[in-house]
């Protein structure tokens, strides 16, 4: 696989505050990575840094062979970075189908293929964004990111605040997205044991620093380290 993203010794934060310290990792095209850590360890800040929403103090970020740091934040989506933030941010006054169509870009994820992954959204295609339940809104946020046909999809705690039934359903869908190979996926979650089986790689952050960067498989089997870094066996 070709390398899509490489971070080298990245330090970043907000204003004078440094949140990320000396972060380095790489991700191949079509690969998948779990980004793990307790609350406040820098996971969301790392995604925000990739999208240009923080202050980069030092270090290098290369994306598809080019310098990502030089690209203004508003241009990064056009390069193929798709971000699904915790807030969902769907358009309440547009229908489900309009929410999807308005952002569509050419690529393998067409409206039809997206509906195949989210049949519930096809059933609700005429409903307005504000007529959806929380779980449906999260599905729409994920589906809308796919319609951008990103090369790199950033998912920030997509299961947060959802009932267990919906969490289980979304885990299955996210697993299919990650295994599709159409895009690389970085998945931020606190429930390590549920997402590590869905990803090939994992990075664990502790107080803004990398304490693990490697394959997901050995990490999920290492209960003591998961306990230490994430608590309760990684849940």
């Amino acid at each position: 696989m070709t390398e899509l993203l490489r971070l080298e010794n990245v330090w970043a934060g907000y204003g004078d505050a440094v949140v990320l310290e000396d972060i380095s990792f790489s991700l191949d095209a079509g690969d998948s990575m779990a980004l793990l850590g307790r609350n406040g360890m820098g996971k969301t800040t790392l995604l925000a840094t990739l999208m240009g929403a923080t202050q980069l103090k030092s270090g290098k970020m290369r994306y598809a062979g080019a310098d990502l740091v030089a690209v203004p934040s508003h241009r990064r989506a056009h390069l193929g970075l798709g971000w699904v933030p915790q807030e969902r941010d769907i358009f309440a006054s547009l229908s489900v189908e309009e929410n999807l169509s308005v952002v569509a870009r050419p690529g393998p994820w067409t409206l039809q293929r997206t509906y195949e992954l989210f049949p519930r959204l096809q059933e609700r295609r005429a409903n307005m964004g504000n007529q959806l339940s929380g779980g449906e809104q999260q599905m729409l946020a994920l589906a809308r990111a796919l319609m951008l046909n990103p090369k790199l999809l950033l998912l920030d705690e997509p299961l947060e605040g959802l009932a267990p039934l919906i969490v289980q359903e979304l885990l299955t869908i996210i697993g299919r997205m990650a295994k599709s190979g159409d895009m690389a996926v970085i998945l931020v979650e606190q429930h390590a044991r549920q997402i590590l089986p869905l990803t090939r790689q994992a990075v664990v952050l502790e107080r803004g620093r990398t304490v693990y960067a490697g394959a997901s498989e050995p990490l999920i089997q290492d209960k003591s380290q998961l306990d230490r870094w994430l608590g309760v066996g990684g849940q």
Binding site: E123, S133, G135, L165, E169, R193, Q221
Partner: protein, 192 residues
């Protein structure tokens, strides 16, 4: 120890359906919902077929069998859990009958159905808790690396907690998710 992750996953999936069933029955009791017998039947199907055809056979045949060989101290606990597997299936049959009765006679059948559901939920949560807090910790310490490798291989054929051997549970689970009222599922929310 992929086996333990598979068991955790299957417990989480079953637990999610149990939680949703408890919510639906509570909402029916409070007259916040009209009975959706399609949803109730899907839930009862899942909690009957999932454990009986996918989950318990793996535990009984592979994990329990090897643990019994390795740890004589585990014999009593395993016997209790095996009995509970049988009792649990019998309770799901009672649950099916109570649901059919409820559907046949309408509101007059709700109290009996709710009582059977409550007994089933209490029994099953207790069973899952026993496996999570007693059996699995014991298995972690008593079984050798070679044992786990063998059990992992035996479990590997059946990883997806929803798909089952033939993928039949994936659709059933999605149907439950779609029909269960929000915020527990994706269906229309119950009256407030």
């Amino acid at each position: 120890m992929k086996t333990i992750d598979i068991i955790h996953n299957e417990h989480r999936a079953l637990g999610a359906v149990l939680q949703a069933l408890a919510y639906v029955v509570d909402a029916l009791r409070a007259n916040k919902l009209q009975p959706d017998f399609g949803l109730l039947a899907a839930m009862v199907d899942y909690i009957t077929l999932g454990p009986e055809t996918v989950h318990h056979p793996k535990e009984d045949q592979y994990l329990f069998a090897r643990l019994r060989d390795r740890s004589p101290d585990a014999a009593q606990l395993i016997a209790k859990l095996e009995q509970e597997h049988q009792d649990g299936y019998a309770m799901t049959v009672t649950l099916q009958k109570a649901l059919i009765h409820y559907q046949s006679v309408g509101a007059a059948g709700f109290a009996a159905f709710a009582e059977v559901v409550a007994k089933y939920l209490e029994f099953t949560w207790s069973h899952l808790n026993c496996e999570e807090t007693e059996l699995l910790p014991l298995a972690r310490t008593a079984l050798t690396a070679a044992d786990w490798a063998a059990i992992d291989a035996e479990f590997a054929d059946n990883f997806d907690p929803f798909a089952g051997a033939d993928g039949e549970f994936a659709g059933l689970f999605s149907r439950i998710v779609n029909l269960t009222p929000a915020p527990y599922g994706l269906g229309p929310a119950a009256a407030t």
